[in-house]
Symmetry: D2
């Protein structure tokens, strides 16, 4: 089977590079179009990233020889698309939110589906925020989205903030078994790669932690409600629960966001053993379909009392699984646990790729 | 005024060294007796610590020339006490809990008051667990303790675990103003010095965090209840509230324990502005008495949104203050904040010294 | 082709685990025998390593079900060997040097070849210290070694200290082209994994470096001379040059030893461009034979001015390549460069496996 | 005695803040004038540094209330000087080299002496690069400098790069005793504070080192030659020796530059014991004069085999001493040692203050 040619917007940035790196040898997709800022445009990808490559081997691959287009030049992508060289794009754009929103709209209007990592469209009422194992059915708003915008083949889907993966999927698994998750208090210990490059200064991360990440607590509290919400009249309606309070901290870890979570259930409460069994058994559509980037088990339960740990667990199952541990009763709420995910794979480019695989399966990518 | 001669048990260990270091130039106390394991006994303190000094200058001081006694040899301390060379001891013993308990009892029985850092006696019913600004009145159980044991001049007081300083004093300040603190969920990010030396392996602390510290969550949840409790019939009775749930994590920080706290009040709830004012204004007996190790303000309120940070705030006011920041409403409970204290000064040896100053003022040290 | 059954001595330790991990899916070898201390003996490998697994997945593999033998019980290995379950052993023993030497001798005497990671036999006159790309011909002392000891099938070969890989192969490549390397001054920045687990305390590695590693400078200076030496009368004779002075430092890096090297040549001196070409072109016997663990190119030359870096370069080519960079003239000697290798793969278990592959090819493993 | 009012240029930057912090309570100098970029001008120092204070307490001091001037407005400084509010300035300007050079010239021309931290003037032929204990006599070029420029009271002196303090003073001490230091090869492990703030990204400093610092090796090799040089005809003439080759690395340490040094002597060679004695005994003019920022002993010799270490030794003697350790013969050259200094105190602002104290004593500051 011929691979589907795809594009990456913001291809020279850190998340863009992560996409290029993860898509090497992808069984379905092949990067054939790369776009970045005007400064990089016209150079080979290899030259455009010289001296700032974060993932080994990306410049030496075939992508290294691609000529970088100007991401603001939608017509170039459109031409490439018409010539059969860009069936859809991953957006890893790094600009102001308004600019990203406009630009992603322009790509979609030009008939190019956008699978985005950017936060710009997360609160657009008819744009789904997808975690493939949780709300895959939200993708089915796409026809309504297209209709409302007058778009033919284009559409926009986004992935959520990297901080919420460590608890949203585990909580969803419990909800699916009939347990109401009413409230949670979560403290995250987040890796520096979440801030990009150069990102967090080393003077702030040697012998130190920073108990604040701008905008992160709001995202951590609100995005799960859209993901767990419903579609009503062509728009998303937030779930009423769980109520979430988040404390977000930056810690001296390269990759891997850890979350310490206390959960209060409404109605009946599962035992610790039930919770662990539900999590260990949890599978969803990506697993049933055997999507290439789907982890075999979306949730890995560790029994050791000192796990999960970022360096030991972030890479579990292609860095796409959530690892949970320390599952125990909470002295104030009902349940406590620690969740961990790889923030730049599962929480960024890998999650985007899995979303695209899901969309391909559902037929939205042609 | 002649200084009071004092002893340090476990003087060669890390906490013992911290005592020696902090007591250099103390206006009231002077280290004149040092005791450690049989292995060190008979050597000069300088020789006994050679190659494992953690605090600069301690071996070069007068203490360096003291001959180390065997900590198990209570009669040696007793002789020193009778000769006017050891009015009381700071205990930084590192042994099994039962051994420490017996040995501290033996010192007290021999007429030597014990101001302890060890956890062994924390749950002994008539031994006070002191935070000088919070429960200084608990020291007044000493006569009953002496009477019950048949001790004449000796007694035992202990300090709490290092993890609880970052939230217990702030919460007490609110309680004192009439606010009922009903429940709290707290996640700590604790420094490696809390585990002593060699303590936590570097392979666990480079690009990593460990979401578990043995026994720490239990201490963090239960010790505040004794501290906030009352004396009834010569024994301590735990406070009924607050109910506490703790998540304790080890992070790559040398010194300084950070706590992310969500608080639920019973009855009326203070505004964020009231909370900050209560904390900024809080003073207690150690401040009124002007005790040498008392911070001018026990609670420092920072307004920047990214503070407190371990490296920037742990040394505030002789490393004896609690620094709080990010005071804001909680999306689930009522109030959220971040608290930080220096775990080996305020949370260990410095706290012990302040306790001794308080006991001296109250007349229990003769 | 049926795989060769092999054993790992010291299998539960960190290097032993590394062997188990790297040998998973090895095309020639299959771990069928594991031995460790008496404490672990009799348990399944999974149980024996529970709670101290450093490499994900090793306990879940088939090896996890093997029953751990007592490493001191050579007869057990001998029985396994006779039953066709242990053709040779990798030694990752962690004991006193004299004990290791005796025990490795006993295995060899029992007819079991020993490919060792331990330093015990490095200065035994007829035991080769192998870097497969450098002195593969030193393996040919094995018949003389066997003859001298009266051993039939058994023999002992060892690998060098992990600190020397980053400069010995590059220097050998230059020597092979006729350049005499007369003197070098080398400063290493070594990863903490080199000290095993628990190894270096985190209090020494947060905001700190330690400019000393016991015994490491001597090894770094002397072992290359044996490796570059000749065989005379059934024993190794050290090379006369290069004269080496080493400064060895421990730095807060998990894996990857970096060496800053200044080289003085005797006779004619290569230009920087020649040096880079020699290194980039260098191949040796393992490459010609296409041994499974041989890197495609033993030396990778990077042109960026800030490379090699441990986190970016240590995993190059299965973590088996030496990455060099900053190749430039030296203001005092002739040439300067920075070399980097993965200390626990190329510098330990991976190097041992490559040595075994070489020995298999040469016919010494039956 | 009334304190001398002084100014700080670039006062809001990291080095500028370090000056403000160190000068608090200085017995001779008092900061009365602060200047920074146009962006900060007109604000109080407290407001201008809000949210980016690196040194606790600087905003709360009297300096916090000073109104920041525009550093480009020399006439403002001139007016302040005439009004008795700015006898000289410390320059911690952060701009392009040419701009700094011009601006420092302008201040000097306006009659305001400039004691600079910037590198801009280091290679100006008649500007001394001062290490107070080494080349204090170089200050005596000031009359010639003034004459050549037509300056009345103004002049410019600079301090060297922070990387060279760890070896230049020890080597000078040996040279002063008649030993010729002919060549040295030095590898530095430099702290991130040397790169300022934000400086080095944390992604480069977690589980990593970077074997390159732009321009640092050149400075490390050449600046000592000017410092050890002579004055001929109103200009500095470099010393012919030592020939220096430097490898400069960035390591995950906040403060404290470590240097691993191999030294070759010409002529007679001192024994290790002689070297240690010369260093332990070394004193120079600042010590004789008892200048406030002069360390009691400029060189501290440690006998432990694992010292100096940045976290344990950088603060020795007000962070103004060089700590040396591991003094031993070199297997290639004659002598090896490890030197350490605090790069932002001794190597930056503290060194500048000591230079000013020296200049005051010599009468150049009026």
């Amino acid at each position: 089977m011929a691979k589907i040619p795809i594009g990456v917007l913001g291809a020279t940035g850190m998340v863009g590079q992560q996409y290029i790196s993860l898509l090497k040898n992808h069984p379905w997709f092949e990067v054939r179009y790369v776009a970045a800022s005007a400064r990089s445009a016209g150079k080979s990808y290899k030259d455009a990233t010289a001296g700032r490559v974060h993932f080994p081997g990306i410049a030496e691959s075939a992508v290294g020889e691609l000529i970088v287009a100007d991401a603001n030049d939608v017509s170039a992508a459109s031409s490439a698309a018409k010539a059969g060289g860009c069936a859809f794009v991953f957006s890893a754009l790094e600009m102001g939110k308004d600019e990203i929103r406009s630009l992603e709209d322009a790509y979609a209007a030009a008939g190019i589906p956008v699978v985005s990592n950017a936060s710009a469209h997360r609160w657009t009422s008819d744009v789904p925020v997808l975690i493939a194992e949780v709300n895959h059915h939200h993708a089915d708003i796409i026809p309504a989205q297209r209709a409302a915008r007058g778009w033919d083949k284009g559409f926009i889907v986004v992935k959520p903030n990297c901080s919420i993966q460590s608890y949203t999927t585990p909580l969803y698994a419990l909800m699916q078994k009939g347990y109401e998750v009413r409230r949670l208090i979560v403290t995250t210990l987040q890796a520096v790669s979440g801030a990009g490059y150069p990102g967090v200064p080393s003077l702030d991360m040697i012998d130190n932690i920073v108990p604040y990440i701008g905008g992160e607590e709001e995202k951590s509290e609100q995005e799960p409600l859209k993901i767990l919400g419903s579609i009503e009249g062509g728009a998303f309606k937030n779930a009423a629960v769980p109520k979430i309070a988040a404390h977000c901290n930056r810690v001296p870890v390269c990759d891997g966001h850890t979350a310490c979570v206390s959960v209060e259930f409404g109605g009946k409460k599962p035992s610790v053993e039930e919770v662990k069994k539900i999590w260990a058994d949890f599978k969803s559509l990506p697993q049933e379909l055997g999507l290439p980037f789907a982890p075999l088990r979306p949730i890995i339960v560790r029994e050791e009392n000192d796990r999960p740990q970022p360096r030991k667990d972030r890479d579990a199952d292609k860095a796409m699984a959530v690892t949970v541990g320390r599952v125990r009763p909470c002295a104030v709420f009902d349940l406590r646990f620690v969740g961990l995910t790889h923030n730049t794979v599962r929480g960024a480019a890998g999650g985007g790729i899995l979303n695209a695989e899901l969309l391909k399966h559902k037929g939205y990518l042609g």
